[in-house]
């Protein structure tokens, strides 16, 4: 029982004459408006030598249009006080902005140019390359990122879900302008975009703007959908880096968003390692004082997913921590989660989900996300109910089904 009550009707999806689909949810609660455009350009389309290409292409969209240089574009956006970016994940890309209502029209016009008239100037490509390479090096200075990157690689093998979405030093160093242009012409078709606006704007005007500003490709593109990842032989990998703490990630491939197991896996992960009352937190942190950072994470995607536990601890505690963590996995397979604990975990998930709907940006993201993933916009309404129906039996069955043959990656401090 979380007591949360939704304060709006879920809007419908409209298809415009240019093929673009739009979800419009006007509100006058404040003067802010958020727009998110979902692009059917999944990071998972990348193959080994071009890891990071989708994200790189998206960031290049923000580096100048046919009318504005990179710095002019940045100045035009920031002068409005608008925040705008183009991002990537495994299953889709999304371009978004948050503005005040008085600059919505201008912000949307700029985003339209960003998405449809990018310049891909060679000099800007070099600047983005340096920036991305530096970001990759910085991420390798972070133990969690470094361990997780290796864990993904070991867990998914050659599947694109195992590639770092930011790319590698090797791949990013080799990107050519032609690759970016090919990627852009092959996948970016406004006729297949899904736009969501939430906040203080006029629906009729927004609808007309999306219809007028976005021109569909002459030949519709074929959507890419990642295949289900194959199971990979479990590995136990160790590598080292100087420092004070060792870091461990241990887990398995799990179900994705489209699986009937999705809701129960979300609950399983919460019982295991989300929040201060989770099992990893209580046993590894509170009882044994092994770590500050410990927990588990469930990363569902369209065609698969993973669940893993993590802990950062002093080197001499690593082995004990690993055994203690794996024991918690095994208990989930052996024993039913007590009803009170199960209910608490479900309430926590639903409460966090609803609290996360406070901003226009997050509301827009949720609405479009479910539709883009093939779950339908109504998932935003039925998600709490799906979670509430998960049973202890389901959680144990899921643990027995998935929590086997762990892939373990250990970053040893030396």
């Amino acid at each position: 029982m979380t007591g949360f009550v939704k304060d709006h009707q879920t809007p419908g999806i409209e298809t415009l004459s240019n093929g673009m689909r739009v979800i419009l949810l006007p509100s006058t609660a404040n003067t802010i408006v958020a727009a998110t455009i979902f692009l059917p350009v999944p990071g998972a389309v990348e193959r080994e030598p071009e890891s990071g290409l989708v994200g790189f292409t998206n960031r290049m969209l923000m580096r100048g249009t046919k009318a504005l240089t990179s710095s002019e574009l940045a100045d035009a956006i920031e002068r409005l006080g608008t925040s705008m970016s183009c991002d990537t994940n495994d299953d889709f890309s999304f371009a978004h902005f948050v503005s005040t209502s008085d600059t919505f029209d201008e912000s949307l016009s700029i985003l339209s140019d960003v998405l449809q008239k990018p310049s891909f100037e060679p000099e800007e490509i070099e600047k983005e390359r340096q920036s991305t390479l530096a970001a990759i090096r910085r991420s390798e200075d972070d133990k969690f990122s470094l361990t997780f990157k290796r864990f993904q690689r070991e867990l998914y093998g050659d599947h694109s879900y195992g590639l770092p979405r930011n790319g590698t030093i090797e791949s990013v160093s080799e990107f050519k302008r032609e690759q970016l242009l090919d990627m852009y012409s092959e996948f970016y078709d406004p006729g297949q975009y899904l736009a969501v606006c939430v906040g203080n704007f006029e629906a009729d005007k927004a609808r007309a703007m999306f219809e007028d500003l976005f021109i569909p490709s002459a030949q519709p593109i074929e959507k890419y959908e990642a295949p289900e990842p194959a199971r990979v032989m479990p590995a136990h990998v160790q590598f080292s880096k100087q420092g004070e703490q060792s870091f461990l990630a241990a887990g398995v491939q799990a179900c994705g968003y489209l699986s009937p197991d999705f809701a129960a896996m979300r609950v399983l992960n919460t019982v295991l390692g989300e929040g201060m009352s989770s099992r990893l937190f209580i046993h590894l942190r509170d009882e044994h004082g092994l770590a500050y950072a410990t927990g588990s994470s469930y990363g569902p995607m369209r065609a698969g997913g993973h669940v893993f536990g993590y802990i950062g601890t002093k080197p001499e505690s690593l082995s004990f921590a690993r055994d203690a963590m794996l024991e918690q996995f095994e208990i989930l397979k052996r024993e039913l989660v007590p009803e009170e604990e199960l209910q608490r975990a479900k309430n926590y998930i639903v409460g966090k989900f609803l609290i996360d709907h406070q901003t226009n940006y997050r509301r827009a993201f949720y609405l479009g996300f479910y539709e883009q993933m093939g779950l339908g916009i109504e998932m935003d309404d039925i998600y709490p109910d799906l979670i509430s129906r998960v049973t202890a039996d389901q959680v144990r069955e899921l643990a027995q089904k998935y929590l086997n043959d762990y892939t373990i990656v250990e970053l040893l401090a030396e």
Binding site: S71, K127, R138, G351
Partner: protein, 425 residues
């Protein structure tokens, strides 16, 4: 109840019978946040107890006579709510967000925690190991490590030089009885503030609040406010080598505390013009044009007393000397030639919009309100912030930077294990 704020933010104010000030902001969004601010942080510590405020923040979740260890979290989780807490140099705060029908549950938990935490000796000893792991984690985090080193290098005598986490030695030496004494001394109605933001009817809350805090007593023990001084360290460069791939560099300058309102506003604007966004001066010059840094940001973490203005960049070790000189050149030019009206208008818009965007969530609102109220003792600065920002002139913006950089910076460089020392020096 008294209405506070007329220009930027409006709130109801009530002082409970126990002396605890309460600020209430009604937002009809079905959610309510209770955010308790305590006027103490690492700046109230000395070398012997450095880290105690942060450690105490952990211990506050470890039980009261009414609720056992972990129970406060379980109760909130049970109603789909979320706890959080944070310790800083000048303050500590605890906040909980729940669906508005569970306001009383959240109030019961947070009021019990603030007044009746046990700080059990066994729990204290166990949690110390967790804190030491948090310390190790920070040592391995380039930005966390650099930030602490920068504070230590910048503030020669001010208590701001101390890390919020404490040192390995000071954390190890902390004992339970000293913490309980600290808790009794600082966690008192007169030294705290409760903010409630969300879907509530203020007049219905008052009896509940009075009841929840009816036994809350003030302490007659003196509060330690640290030996604040505007005496900054002698400018110097410190190079530390670690197992990192990038080089991280921080440069700091003296800056005013929050009570110097006009200077704070001018320095907020200066930081925005210098490094907020891809069209900012530092981004365009050092990153895009000269290509000598990979990322760069100017910041002004405003404290109650003396503060600092800093520039942090990431770069290749070979470019350290060049980036230092280019940063100084840019800052000197900025301090000599005031920014144009167009640049000023853009910066004001960015800050104003950022302010509005940050107020979209209950915790965004309670965080902003609590920060300004706790540090200044009133709502006036926050209430007039945007209005006064609009009247800041280009000359004021240049002038505040000129005052900060009228001496060489303190510099900390975190570099990979190579021959970077030569490059840095």
């Amino acid at each position: 109840m008294k209405l506070l704020g007329k220009r930027g933010v409006s709130l109801l104010f009530e002082q409970l019978s126990c002396g605890l000030p309460v600020l209430i902001k009604t937002v009809p969004n079905k959610v309510v946040t209770l955010d308790a601010w305590v006027n103490t942080g690492s700046a109230n510590e000395d070398e012997s107890n450095n880290g105690i405020s942060h450690f105490l923040e952990h211990m506050m979740f470890k039980g009261t006579p009414k609720y056992g260890v972990g129970e406060l979290d379980r109760i909130i989780m049970n109603v789909g709510g979320v706890w959080n807490a944070g310790t800083s140099k000048d303050f500590t705060h605890y906040y909980v967000t729940v669906a508005s029908p569970f306001f009383e549950t959240a109030l019961d938990c947070i009021s019990d925690m603030l007044q009746n935490s046990l700080i059990d000796k066994n729990e204290f000893d166990r949690e110390k190991q967790v804190i030491l792991e948090e310390f190790r984690r920070k040592q391995d985090s380039p930005f966390g490590f650099l930030y602490d080193e920068l504070y230590e290098a910048t503030f020669q005598k001010s208590p701001y030089r101390q890390s919020v986490l404490g040192s390995f030695e000071s954390i190890s030496a902390l004992d339970r009885d000293a913490m309980y004494d600290y808790y009794q001394r600082y966690y008192t109605p007169a030294n705290m503030l409760l903010i409630i933001v969300g879907d509530v009817e203020p007049h219905l809350l008052l009896p509940m609040l009075e009841k929840a805090f009816s036994g809350f007593k003030n302490s007659n023990q003196p509060l330690q406010d640290g030996n604040h001084t505007t005496e900054f360290s002698v400018p110097a460069t410190k190079v530390i080598e670690k197992d990192v791939n990038e080089t991280y560099m921080a440069m700091s300058f003296p800056a005013p505390g929050i009570l110097a309102h006009e200077e704070v506003l001018a320095l907020d604007l200066a930081s925005t013009i210098l490094s907020d966004g891809r069209s900012s001066r530092m981004y365009q010059d050092l990153k895009e044009k000269q290509r000598i840094v990979h990322s760069i940001s100017a910041g002004f973490p405003t404290h109650r007393h003396e503060s600092m203005f800093y520039v942090i960049s990431t770069l290749d070790a070979d470019n350290v000397a060049q980036a230092q000189s280019a940063t100084m050149k840019l800052l000197r030019e900025f301090s000599e030639i005031p920014p144009g009206e167009s640049e000023m208008a853009k910066a004001k818009r960015i800050i104003s919009n950022g302010f509005q965007f940050g107020m979209e969530t209950n915790t965004g609102q309670s965080g902003t309100i609590g920060y300004y109220y706790t540090l200044t003792g009133t709502l006036d600065f926050l209430d007039s912030y945007l209005e006064r920002l609009a009247s800041i002139t280009p000359e004021q913006v240049s002038s505040v930077v000129r005052n900060s950089i009228n001496r060489e910076p303190n510099i900390v460089v975190l570099a990979p294990h190579t021959n970077t020392k030569d490059a840095a020096l």
